[in-house]
Symmetry: C2
């Protein structure tokens, strides 16, 4: 629900400087988990004394705490630098990964630590309010153990579908058969709370999480291609998420692939999804249709690549070539059931990609599996809920909720 702030042609206020520096410092601590003040000075290019002031403010806000100088491998002489780490009873968020057959909910602290998690199956033909109630129950369970002083900053929800950026409305979630569902509002109503809720597409959040603490740390141009019944992609370019005008960017599953191909649920024929989507793969390996949602487990069952998947691998590579030509990423992360598929058909994918992509963008691209395994979208949901803290820590804490456990216990 929080519209991403866009830096327009505004001038920089000196109050904004403090906000920005405090937020950036927190972002670094969040990214590293534990970091020395000396590293912070060199990373941020500010003076020692300035960093000291910022760190002191973070501590007085209860966000971070001071640690003894880290005993790690040091280089050279000099006084060891005191560390900064996320406070144990610091702010946290609720992350929700809504899948086609199950929902995972976690309480996540700064630093990306999953403090508690719970999950439950959801019926793919369930109505939105039923799913919302189930998610709310999971949230209650997960919040129970939270320290009473720890503030809840917000809720982030990963959705397998098209989410409107301006207000988080789920425009279309094909595999849940939802149209124009205000799922954030439904969950909040079921909880009886009023906290910031952010929703986004699962592939977008996968990309975000892999960028911050997964396989794409330090890579500013990456694509997370998610096989999750449907096929979608999350794009990060220049270090920022590609969202598009409405927030629907990255729907690569409906790239034109084979005009003589099979009909797609979107109404066209031969979309890429009809060749590398879960249903196509299930059909190729003669997997019963009711197990499509667990396609990753089925694929994990193979010890050696079945020949029926060769064509799928080639189609995957050919589609990725279009993506490489279009986005010129440095890294492509293969998430969802592609995590299980890619190791089986690595050779076919790579050669098909090399065959069809332009040489210039091809030479710098690498295909990898997610560094966060199947938690990418969940941790990405945590990230968008945490985002306000990095924009303005003081304001975000001001609107956060304390003692959520007792509030929900009613």
């Amino acid at each position: 629900m929080s519209p991403q702030q866009r830096r327009s042609g505004l001038g920089t206020n000196q109050e904004a400087v403090r906000r920005h520096n405090l937020g950036t410092l927190l972002r670094h601590v969040h990214g590293a988990g534990q970091i020395s003040r000396a590293e912070l000075t060199s990373l941020m290019g500010l003076n020692r004394s300035t960093i000291a002031g910022l760190v002191a403010e973070l501590e007085s806000l209860g966000i971070s705490e001071r640690t003894t100088p880290v005993g790690g491998p040091r280089q050279g002489a000099g006084r060891p630098s005191a560390g900064v780490r996320i406070a144990a009873e610091g702010p946290f968020v609720i992350a929700v990964d809504l899948g086609v057959d199950r929902a995972v909910v976690a309480r996540v602290g700064l630093g990306g630590r999953v403090l508690e998690r719970a999950q439950a199956p959801v019926h793919s033909d369930g109505e939105a309010w039923q799913v919302g109630a189930a998610v709310a129950a999971l949230i209650r369970r997960v919040v129970e153990g939270a320290p009473p002083t720890a503030p809840l900053v917000g809720i982030g929800i990963s959705v397998p579908g098209l989410v409107r950026r301006s207000d988080g409305l789920i425009r279309l979630a094909p595999n849940l058969e939802w149209h124009d569902v205000s799922f954030g509002g439904i969950v909040l109503a079921a909880l009886g709370l009023d906290v910031p809720v952010s929703l986004a597409n699962d592939a977008d959040l996968g990309a975000l999480a892999e960028h911050i603490r997964g396989a794409a740390v330090g890579v500013d141009d990456l694509i997370y291609v998610s096989g999750n019944v449907g096929v979608g992609a999350g794009v990060i370019t220049g270090g920022v998420r590609l969202e598009g005008a409405g927030g629907y960017a990255g729907e690569v599953g409906h790239l034109r692939f084979n005009p003589q191909g099979r009909p797609c649920h979107c109404g066209n024929r031969g979309c890429w999804e009809t060749e590398v989507g879960a249903h196509a793969i299930a059909e190729a390996i003669h997997c019963p249709p009711d197990k499509v949602a667990q396609l990753d487990e089925v694929l994990d069952g193979y010890t050696k690549p079945p020949p029926e998947l060769r064509a799928t691998g080639a189609a995957l590579g050919h589609g990725l070539a279009s993506i490489v030509n279009t986005f010129n990423p440095r890294l492509i992360v293969l998430g969802g059931y592609f995590r299980s598929l890619y190791p089986l058909v690595r050779a076919e994918v790579n050669s098909a990609l090399a065959d069809r992509a332009l040489p210039a963008p091809l030479e710098s691209v690498t295909l990898v599996l997610p560094g966060l395994e199947s938690d990418s979208a969940l941790l990405g949901a945590a990230e968008i809920a945490l985002e306000p803290l990095f924009v303005d820590p003081v304001a975000a804490l001001g609107s956060a909720l304390v003692d959520v456990g007792s509030r929900l216990a009613v």
Copy 2:
């Protein structure tokens, strides 16, 4: 040659605040051409006195000058606000639009005013150094009339091909038959000057120019699709250029379109370019191959749409649908010979697009023709050359060259 600066996790220095505010103010003056100080205060959200100080600095740098209160349509009472406009003898850049059959060179001042221009045909089989010499001659001619006190900030070059972002190397320009050409260095050597040179792809620059002062002013998510023998796209998303890891993003001409289609020069079969590229269109309308470079003029000759172009229009629309699904732009600007083609097959393009794009991204997208006609790439080249001024006006002027006319007259 100037690597685009990326804002990393740096802290904000208070010196950086001044730089940023001065640059942002200049960006506003540049965008509007003439603007009142009162508008600047509300646009930038800064105090009146702060704006006054920034404007005074800009004037002392010789960049802007004060104008009498604008006599335009005013609203309400109150003292009229003094205007700020670009100084007549202020800094300028050289913009070069390298086409497949001609080069256009212009002297462009801040505010995007084309102060002088010249052009000459280039042979498509010419060697890079020959083209460089021709461009250098045009630059000399264009610089002649510049006031001796006006500083030259840099040179921007639009290239019909893949340009490496890190150093401006032309990796591939298929229609010039260039591979790995350091054209910036060649032009500088021919001129005997040393000024910052920036190169970029023509479609990227078209998007940039249309965003700043063309049909896409105020639109932060747009795509400029350029038909220029080959087909490419420049993407602006969230208000910033999509470049990709190497700078090659946007090569939509080689999206997979029809796997049973014609062979493409890239080595594949059925790329989108083989259906909507200049050669395909020329063949469809029985245009002689030697006039392919002037395809826009040929198309302009039609008073009513020839039926042979219907299929091309549909292919254009179908390809655009993939682009809409992938990028979710608010605006698609059809440049190059698409400027002449689109009016002929508007109905076919629109219906094909509506047929194949997903409803959510489709509902907010609009197709338009360039607001800058055929000067988009040229003015975009000016923009990237001017860019350093908006990052740090003082530093950019410090490294600018004065009295270029006499330096080149040798």
